[in-house]
Subunit: 282 residues, 2 copies
Amino acid sequence: MKIVRTITEMQEQMQKLKSEGKTIGYVPTMGFLHEGHISLMKNARPENDIVVLSIFVNPLQFGPSEDLDAYPRDFDRDHKIAETEGVDFIFYPSAEEMYPGNASVKVSVVERTDVLCGKSRPGHFDGVATVLFKLFNIIQPTRAYFGLKDAQQVAVVDGMIRDFNFPIQLIPVETVREEDGLAKSSRNVYLNHEERIQAVELSKSLKMAKLAIENGERNPDEIVGSMKNHINENTTGTVDYIEIYSYPELERLKTLKGKVIIALAVKFSKARLIDNTILEVE
Amino acid sequence: MKIVRTITEMQEQMQKLKSEGKTIGYVPTMGFLHEGHISLMKNARPENDIVVLSIFVNPLQFGPSEDLDAYPRDFDRDHKIAETEGVDFIFYPSAEEMYPGNASVKVSVVERTDVLCGKSRPGHFDGVATVLFKLFNIIQPTRAYFGLKDAQQVAVVDGMIRDFNFPIQLIPVETVREEDGLAKSSRNVYLNHEERIQAVELSKSLKMAKLAIENGERNPDEIVGSMKNHINENTTGTVDYIEIYSYPELERLKTLKGKVIIALAVKFSKARLIDNTILEVE
């Protein structure tokens, strides 16, 4: 496995591999790898000749109230995990390497952002899109792997790939879950014993919504209402949002039809958990 | 020579060639090819395995007062010229193919635009950058060729390639000139006999400025003043602008130093002519 820190070297390596007809699977991360990331690498490995992992804590996607310096980092641990998962290259640039000076061209996300988690993080997806425009041009992947836990990010990446014709296949990867259905998250450790038991109700409420739709319910307000009741009655958490949109457009629907996402965020005493499900409605 | 009209086919063709290690030289145009474009093709041909010409009248770079429909088009003539110049592919998409619906991500140029010709064309370079982000991802060129007649466009493209790490070498190509020094332009035919004779004073004034700098002049206001006088005294045209900036940053300078551009635009009765020179000042 090779660790590359400069854009020039990374581009040269990738250019060479592409000119030899190699396919490149790419897993972008901010490091501090967890089972979600590992699942992305496990998906990428058999589908591509070369697997590239990037580790870059992107300052642009942090808001003024979000603590960039406090973001957890552990390169040695990440390095070992990548080695175990058969990664070929880690791209590990500094912030100075990625953003050497003022940019003369800006990228902004104008749709799919002012809902779900994006609503409370203005500018977040502009930062995500900007760094991905750069990383996609640096890595030039055949396929890029993103976890569906952050379904809004997948929707934004889908939009930018379509709008700008990146020659990249977006591979959304299913959320990894605990035995009982709770979506895996580094934040789950902040749940106390009681909350950990209650937290299963989040994925359960999504399953109930799915079942209601299968049984003919098409009114999103009805579904959101039942889910809210379920979570309020069965947990001590506070619902931050429960929303249903078309996917990946993230547009409001009066009647459910086509591909839709049901997504929720619930605040417990020390952890805010998110989860979602995407389904096709006839 | 192959004419390709869809993005999917173009990407497939280019991907295949790149995986075989071929280099791709790219000449983006809006068609109605003239000697400037031919010079770009002649530069691209010997430097690359494959030469791609795109012909796309990009609606996004026309302002509300600029007549998109009146833009001249002659595909048959362009086709013949491309054939003669040894072009391998013409990418010739429709507007619907390039812009099938509302974009969720936008590109905007925030520097290098509010000077020179960009000052009077707000949004123009946003449109240029947007279509080039797409075309670069579709064609995936090794080298992209742009004429220095439109030096501001070259500066904007330089900015976007740097900011977003496109793996593309920008090749600026010298302005093609008539025997007497007048920069070639499809607009020159709108000059009457008198004006055509006077028009040589534009490139002459640039040469005078260059000479003044060689003789030690470092004050941009002095140089602009002399050039204005020269053009006012020797032509019936009206100076639209004469400006000097750092290049390619297009920032104002108090004292000339480093790479600078001297650029001008002069209005004659039925044609507005532009010209520029770029030079290194010690």
